[in-house]
Amino acid sequence: MSKVQLTNVRKTYPNGAEAVRGVDMEIESGEFIVFVGPSGCGKSTLLRMVAGLESVTSGQVLIDDRLINDVSPAERDVAMVFQNYALYPHMTVRGNMSYGLKNRGLPKAEIDQKVTEAAKMLRIGDFLDRQPSQLSGGQRQRVAMGRAIVREPKVFLFDEPLSNLDAKLRVQMRIEIKRLQRRMNVTSIYVTHDQTEAMTLADRLAVVNDGKIEQMGSPIDLYNNPATLFVASFIGSPQVNLLPATFDGQHLISGDLKLSGFGDLPTSTELVLGIRPDELRLDESGPFLLRVDIVEQHGSDNLIYGGVLGAMNDGDQETEFCFKTSQDMLPDLDSTLKLGFNDERAMVFNKVTGERLR
């Protein structure tokens, strides 16, 4: 039960590359925080700075109000689960799990008890005397988590722990991680580029872009109220539909399209209208004419992709929309659909700065 605090944390590599450019964050005790962002955005660096595997160029990292910038990783009392598991190949599962405790000088009986307990919780009790090479990917991942659990750390750190697993196992382990975290109530930071993982695991989500936190909040809050164009396009699957536009004082203009229901927007800058695929609906009087390119049947619902006729194009690329609808909706290819949208839920961004205007 510990809180983590980052104050204006920066990381600059010796070659001048800035990986993290001033991050402020407060993580409450027992919270599950997910850092999500595209690869190379600095989210892993940030995590590794909390772990002590990466030095802090400037700023402060605190765990329970104790400054740990220069504390060695072992003394920070954090445990980390790595993407490639990083199990010690020559040790048994038991050896892997007890190594950290042994180094702390815990009595053998206590170690045994903790290992057995954790193994039971993770259902790897039958494998305790096997080598990692004899285990499947999912089992190795469990051992890696077991190694973290037995130490009863103040903070759990996960660095894309599920990326090496197949899709089915990933979902299973995702649920299991969430359940474990709930049960143990340990403050956790989880790094991923997978937005489904991010949405489902997080109490609060931090969207990282270019070394900065774009926005932080509960997953559903970020989905409903993204502060920037980046957050809007990163969170949500399928991705939000984006339509380049300008404002003439009364209407949003995009090519031949004129959209009403908008007001109080700057007329001088280029804008982007964002509409979630599930905010679109069939509407004979709607403004959009979608020419159907592809229909993806996902079972419970269908995703219809197609170009928006008459819309302003972004470069050479035709503006394309995704329309999320029910499974019985199966239009012919190249047919057109008239679509309307919920203008209350539509978002407008400044195209240059990415700032949300509405």
Binding site: L87, Y88, H90, R104
Partner: protein, 262 residues
């Protein structure tokens, strides 16, 4: 087929030497080396153990064997330990200019020991190492091969391993002892065997650095007993045996680590 031819080329000299070592000296001198075993096995091999040689002092083949073993084991052990530690430092520590150091080490591979004999000799003599085991062993330890070999292996270890260990409270020494050493065991065995053979087969350097007959090794001692004699052949066989036995003992490790990632 190629393998077969190779095998014949490799085995033929061994058969020849062993067969010849069981004939009398006169047979060898009159009829040349023999392909079939003779009846002098006991006499020839027995002669070796009752033989004494030397100009300034006495040395027996058993004494030579002892010298050879001391030198070869020292070379093997120290080479393995030193190259492992060097590679460990090069791979796992952030040393300024470590790549330059490594390339410098690697470049020494290009120069045979012989090319620096004069300098090495003067250094050894100023350190008072002439006519000592240490004098024979130490210059042979600058073995870039082992360092290179361990470095390549350490580079294949995921960097998360050292990170996981540091989170588990293992510092550089513990990481070496608990993680790196156990993982390197079979590779260390391979380097040990190779270095043992290098130490065992040394000829020119021991010849230069030691003038005392008491420091003769088996390889050098063969000449005392006469290469073309029956006992001489027997001594050649004896000389070949220890590296061979060592290889047999270590063979599983040796091939595992030299062929694939075990």
């Amino acid at each position: 087929m190629v393998l077969g031819i190779g095998l014949v080329f490799m085995l033929a000299p061994l058969v020849l030497v062993f067969a010849s070592s069981t004939h009398t000296t006169s047979t060898l001198q009159l009829q040349g080396l023999q392909w079939l075993p003779g009846d002098q096995f006991v006499q020839n091999y027995g002669r070796i153990f009752s033989f004494q040689a030397g100009f300034t002092d006495e040395i027996t083949p058993l004494g030579m064997l002892e010298n050879s073993l001391i030198i070869a084991f020292s070379v093997a052990f120290l080479t393995t330990v030193l190259s492992l530690l060097t590679a460990y430092a090069i791979v796992f520590f952030r040393l300024p200019g470590k790549h330059i150091i490594f390339w410098f080490v690697l470049v020494t591979l290009l120069f045979p020991l012989e090319s620096r004999f004069i300098n090495t000799f003067s250094v050894a003599s100023s350190l008072g190492l002439i006519n000592t085991h240490a004098g024979i062993v130490l210059p042979a330890l600058a073995a870039a091969l082992g360092t290179f070999f361990f470095r390549q292996f350490f580079m294949t270890l995921p960097k998360e391993l050292i990170e996981a260990a540091s989170l588990d409270g293992a510092g550089p020494f513990k990481f070496l002892k608990d993680i790196v050493l156990p993982l390197s065991f079979s590779r260390a065995g391979a380097i040990f065997v190779i270095a043992f053979m290098i130490g065992w087969n040394q000829y020119l350097w021991p010849l230069m650095i030691s003038t005392d007959d008491s420091l003769y090794t088996l390889v050098r001692g063969i000449r005392f007993i006469g290469q073309e004699s029956g006992p001489g052949m027997a001594m050649v066989v004896i000389t070949m045996l220890p590296p061979f036995i060592l290889l047999l003992v270590f063979q599983r490790w040796f091939f595992n680590s030299l062929s694939a990632q075990s």
